[in-house]
């Protein structure tokens, strides 16, 4: 029978939707027939009712089988809200769905017994009526959640979050998560590694390979990008330049652990000391003896060739800085996986993953020592190390890097604004706007240990003289930053009203409600907005200089009046228009072209009057916290979460909520989770 149904409808999601009526409607009919049989006390309707019970209850197996098969197909097509409901639907099905096969067995038993013992027939029927009614209730509850997966208009509330307990018995879900990653260092990470190893005085000049963005993050893209010939050329040139600075005075006496016996000759002992001092720091792991030997030998040859000990040191330092295991964070797992296919990360990998997550930098000496002594393998010692790193001032750097990535601030590098339309704009305005938001983020989340959601409502700010005119605020400090607090009732509150977002998500010469709305949906709510179709009829569009349509709301009206535009723009424009009081560089304006700007709208049913209200609605949206959890996990492991990791994400989400949406608590939970500390073993075979 399964084959026939399979042939009829190949897509398990379709099959599931077709079949799911059987257990519900069928059980209802069976219950009515049974009740009639009980009332009449006749065997014919009773046995008919029991048979119906048997068949329709058994059909639940098909429904569950197709549902399991449909889950992975469907999951990625849903937005965060739909995904939550899908998980809840599955959770309910797993908890209550097993009642139905039991009911089918009971019905079969009742038919068998009732055929022989006439006296028991009525009592059996009453018992089955009771169990069948219970099954009917259970299926209705399951189906109600399923309906919300299918129809977003029914999703007026949020489902409860589920932890892994509810899902570990899932039939299609094995426990193996993602593979290890090989991530190219970002520009910031490279700069930080050089500063950590040789001090901040070392200058780095060169062009880095451009970062990509995948699943919304540079951190994920970094696990996919390679190094091109021109990129390698640049890395090699930068490495030589850094090495040259390391061996020039006064750096050489400050940095090197030893001095050569004769500066014009090779000195193997000193070369080795230099390598042992810098090697582990740069490569983020202890060096093997043969690696040391080869480099010391090469340094000796170089020194003898040009009669300069330091030429050999330059060679050593350069060789570390162009090494693939410096430029890439190459992760590996321990030998011997558990029965579930998961293996623990090697200590060096775990240490590096941890320090890049929490500090956006390589391990410090204390962590390297813990690695070398094998202390991270012990859960309590590992947790202590996590707590030490969370308490370090460097945690700010880690949070800053995470939010720079999440907010797509890397795009500031390619930002340009029209100087005639925005005479206030300068590269300094852009740099300060970016820094301003990051300062608010770090101050609120790390220094004050605040609730993540309050970022969208906080009135605390940091200002510079350069930003003063953009914000129309007086700034006392002549140079540098000063803390400020906007008055209650100010037209700005929360980071969405900062210049940074409004600058970045706009055109060179004007604002863009669509780009702003898209950013909110994708980055802050983790919702997918489909790309525009190619064959858009732009004849309907109202031109920018059209005197009839002064404000963006007027011009974008076609987006909501035309059906093919509406589907996607209904997601972006209404919330993006909430920020229309901020122009293309984030300056406040009450009107555009002489017409008053109407910044009201609603965020998924939550009405707001202006940008401040939009921030409040966002802070109250249940999707915001969930989205941050998903994004942080993706950031931590360098890939989108695997399907099997959904329960873990739900658990993290619940912990985040319990911990008052504090970022340190979230990062701690991620660092301690199995998903972070283990990985699937890379495929065997094909090695060189």
């Amino acid at each position: 029978m399964t084959e026939i149904v399979n042939e009829l409808v190949g897509n398990p999601a379709h099959r599931h939707v077709l079949l799911n009526h059987l257990p519900i409607t069928g059980l209802a009919v069976a219950a009515i027939v049974l009740a009639w049989g009980i009332f009449e006390d006749r065997w014919a309707p009773i046995v008919f009712g029991l048979a119906l019970c048997l068949l329709t209850s058994a059909s639940a197996l098909l429904v569950m089988q197709s549902g399991d098969a449909a889950y992975p197909l469907l999951f990625d097509r849903l937005d965060g809200h739909g995904q939550a409901w899908l998980d809840h639907h599955l959770f309910l099905a797993e908890r209550y769905g097993r009642l139905l096969p039991v009911n089918a067995l009971l019905a079969a038993l009742a038919i068998g017994v009732g055929a022989r013992r006439i006296a028991w027939r009525r009592r059996l029927a009453i018992a089955l009526l009771a169990t069948t009614s219970a099954c009917l209730l259970a299926t209705s509850i399951i189906a109600e959640a399923g309906g919300k997966v299918r129809h977003d208009e029914f999703r007026t509330t949020n489902p409860p979050a589920h932890d892994s307990q509810g899902r570990e018995g899932g039939k299609t879900l094995s426990a193996s998560g993602g593979p290890v990653a090989m991530r190219r260092l970002t520009e910031a990470q490279y700069r930080r590694a050089i500063a950590d190893a040789f001090g901040p005085e070392i200058e780095i000049a060169g062009r880095f390979e451009p970062d990509g963005r995948r699943d919304g993050l540079v951190a994920v893209s970094s696990a996919f990008v390679t190094i091109t010939p021109s990129g390698f050329e640049q890395y090699e040139a930068m490495a030589r330049e850094v090495a040259r600075q390391v061996v020039t005075e006064p750096n050489r006496s400050r940095l090197l652990p030893c001095a050569p016996a004769d500066p014009a000759r090779a000195d193997a002992a000193c070369s080795e000391a230099v390598l042992r001092a810098f090697g582990p720091r740069i490569l983020r792991r202890p060096l093997a003896e043969d690696e040391i030997e080869r480099r010391v030998d090469a340094a000796a040859e170089a020194a003898e060739r040009v009669d300069d000990f330091f030429a050999g040191i330059e060679l050593i330092v350069t060789s570390l800085l162009v090494a693939p295991d410096f430029l890439f964070r190459i992760e590996s797992v321990e030998a011997g996986a558990g029965a579930d296919g998961r293996a623990s990360l090697s200590p060096a990998t775990l240490g590096s993953r941890l320090s890049y997550l929490l500090w956006n930098a390589g391990p410090d000496d204390a962590l390297l020592a813990a690695l070398a002594e094998g202390r991270l393998a012990e859960p309590e010692a590992y947790a202590r190390e996590v707590d030490r790193m969370l308490a370090s001032p460097r945690f700010e750097d880690g949070i800053r890097a995470f939010f720079e990535d999440l907010f797509r601030f890397g795009e500031f590098a390619d930002l340009g604004k029209d100087p005639l339309r925005y005479p206030l704009y300068s590269a300094k305005v852009a740099a300060d706007a970016r820094e301003q938001t990051l300062r608010v983020v770090v101050d609120h989340l790390v220094a004050r240990q605040g609730d993540y959601r309050e970022l969208f409502t906080t009135r605390r700010l940091f200002m510079t003289r350069t930003l003063g005119p953009v914000y129309a605020l007086p700034v006392q400090a002549e140079t540098g930053w000063e803390a400020a607090e906007l008055a209650p009732g100010d037209r700005r509150a929360g980071i969405l009203t900062h210049a940074s977002f409004n600058l970045l998500n706009a055109h060179p010469g004007r604002s863009s409600p669509t780009l702003r709305g898209l950013f909110l949906r994708e980055a802050l709510l983790c919702q997918n907005v489909p790309p525009a179709p190619a064959n858009v009829d732009f004849g309907l569009f109202n031109a920018d200089d059209d005197p009839q349509h002064k404000t963006a709301r007027d011009r974008l009206e076609v987006h909501s009046s035309n059906a093919s535009c509406r589907n996607c723009h209904a997601l972006t424009d209404p919330i993006g228009l909430g920020l229309e009081n901020f122009d293309g560089i984030g300056r406040y304006r009450a009107s555009e072209g002489g017409a008053t700007i109407d910044a009201s709208g609603d965020l998924d049913g939550e009405p707001f009057a202006d940008a401040v209200g939009l921030g409040r609605a966002l802070a109250e949206s249940p999707l915001v916290g969930r989205c941050l959890v998903e994004t942080a996990y993706r950031y931590a492991v360098g890939r989108a979460a695997a399907l099997e990791e959904r329960p873990l994400l739900r658990q993290l989400e619940r912990r985040f909520e319990q911990e008052g949406y504090r970022i340190a608590a979230l990062m701690r939970e991620i660092a301690l989770s199995d998903g972070f500390r283990t990985a699937r073993r890379p495929g065997e075979g094909g090695g060189s």
């Binding site: 090989m182 062009r207 010939p229 690696e291 060739r305 030429a311 060789s319 010469g509 190619a534």
Partner: protein, 450 residues
């Protein structure tokens, strides 16, 4: 064991290099008898003059009814949007009507057109099937002899807007300013082939030993990796070998080149998407590139004048070229969008000046352009509707007398892969068939082949 072998090699290099270390100088004859009697080969080596390939991309297409010529063949009448190329029309062939055939694939806006032309087929998704692009196929075949396999540059100043892609994760970033381009080519590591005196830099030998040290770690790393990451590591080592090759070349005296002149370093000017800045930076880059080619530093290049969905704009305007193509009203009298079309005209002017600059450098018995083929293309024809049918395509230069210039060929809706196939064959590659799925073709455009 492999370690010992490598060490021996290192020692050999050391011995060879000790000559250079003492500052031994080599005198070379120069500035006389560069070429053989026919003027088509270098007298010094007997090697033929290098043949080059390049791409020149601009964003947001054209207005088909104002761009596509009416007549085919030579002597076709220039249309309004082709008027800017008038002064160099004898160097250019126009290919109209060639399309990326979608055959059921989605038209990913501002992406399908350019990736389709350069890879020979419509990409299935917005993130995959990005390469290898045509320029890389060609540089794999002809790029090995020069210091750079290829040079990428972006006149609008954005390094990551490059369409030279091994795949979606290996995008060859562009030099974003004239100064960057100049420093890359004529900065450290450049040896003037006509300097007459050649002194190999002892640093070059040390740099080579660094690279061989790193190369020895490979086997250990490979063992840790899954298939996909092994391929990425492979790309890293390919890049490393490319630099080794470059250093190798720097250790021997380059043959003298008559056309090679070392340009003055350009002054750092404003870099932005303001059309005036882009035009100015483009022209400076073209001049630096021309001399990079004349000095045989590379034989493959990729120029981006503006990116797909171009954000070029004029000072004081709230619009960009891209937003104008969608939002500007068609002038009912003119029948096109006047402001958006202005950007098309400026792009065509820039293309003409690019061709003119290559044609202004004498080489052999002709000019640099005579030994070069440049593919000019865009990601749309009519940008308003994101059309990938009848893309604007032009070829400049004869590639050493192998391509006819000055004619118009009508593609009648056939695949742009025919253009890519023709170019690979012209560059001497043994390719009979190119493109994938509906765009696969085995028919070069015979009308332009000499």
């Amino acid at each position: 064991m492999s370690r010992r072998i490598t060490r021996r090699r290192l020692l050999e290099r050391t011995l060879r290099g000790s000559l250079a270390g003492t500052g031994f100088a080599l005198g070379l004859p120069y500035l006389e008898a560069f070429l053989n009697a026919n003027g088509d080969a270098l007298a010094a080596t007997g090697a033929p003059l290098p043949r080059r390939f390049g791409t020149w991309f601009y964003g947001c297409g054209m207005n088909p009814h104002r761009w596509n010529p009416a007549e085919e063949g030579a002597g076709f009448a220039l249309t309004p949007e082709l008027m800017p190329i008038e002064r160099v029309r004898q160097h250019i062939s126009v290919l109209s009507g060639f399309s990326v055939i979608l055959a059921g694939e989605t038209n990913h806006v501002h992406r399908t057109g350019v990736i389709g032309t350069l890879t020979g087929g419509a990409p299935a998704t917005t993130t995959e099937n990005d390469g290898p692009t045509l320029d890389l196929l060609i540089s794999d075949a002809i790029g090995g002899a020069t210091r750079f396999r290829s040079l990428e540059m972006a006149a609008h100043g954005i390094a990551k807007d490059s369409y030279s892609r091994r795949n979606e994760n290996a995008i060859q970033a562009a030099e974003p300013t004239p100064v960057d381009l100049y420093m890359r080519v004529f900065g450290s590591g450049f040896t003037d082939p006509n300097a007459g005196v050649f002194v190999p830099d002892p640093q070059t030998i040390l740099r080579r030993s660094v690279l061989s040290l790193v190369a020895e770690d490979r086997a250990r790393l490979d063992r840790q990796l899954g298939q996909a990451d092994r391929e990425r590591l492979d790309a890293y080592y390919t890049s490393l070998r490319q630099l080794e090759r470059q250093l190798e070349l720097q250790l021997s005296a380059p043959p003298p080149l008559e056309a090679c002149r070392v340009p003055q370093p350009p002054e750092a000017g404003p870099v932005s998407q303001d059309i005036e800045n882009v035009v100015r930076n483009h022209e400076t880059m073209a001049r630096v590139l021309a001399l990079a080619l004349a000095c045989d530093q590379t034989r493959v290049f990729n120029v981006v004048f503006s990116a797909g969905a171009s954000r070029l704009h004029t000072a004081g305007s709230s619009d960009t070229h891209h937003t104008l193509t969608h939002e500007e009203a068609k002038d009912p009298k003119l029948g096109y969008q006047p402001q958006a079309t202005q950007f098309v005209m400026r792009s065509m002017e820039a293309w003409a000046s690019f061709v003119e600059i290559l044609a202004s450098v004498p080489e052999g018995d002709g000019t640099l352009l005579d030994h070069t083929v440049v593919l000019c293309h865009s990601e749309t024809s009519d940008a308003n509707s994101h059309s990938v049918s009848g893309l604007p395509i032009m070829l400049a230069g004869t590639g050493g007398g192998r391509i006819r210039n000055g004619i118009h060929v009508r593609g009648a809706g056939e695949t742009t892969a025919r253009v890519g196939l023709t170019l690979q064959q012209v560059m001497g590659m043994n390719v009979a068939k190119w493109g994938f799925k509906a765009n696969e073709t085995s028919r070069p455009i015979s009308e332009i082949l000499v």
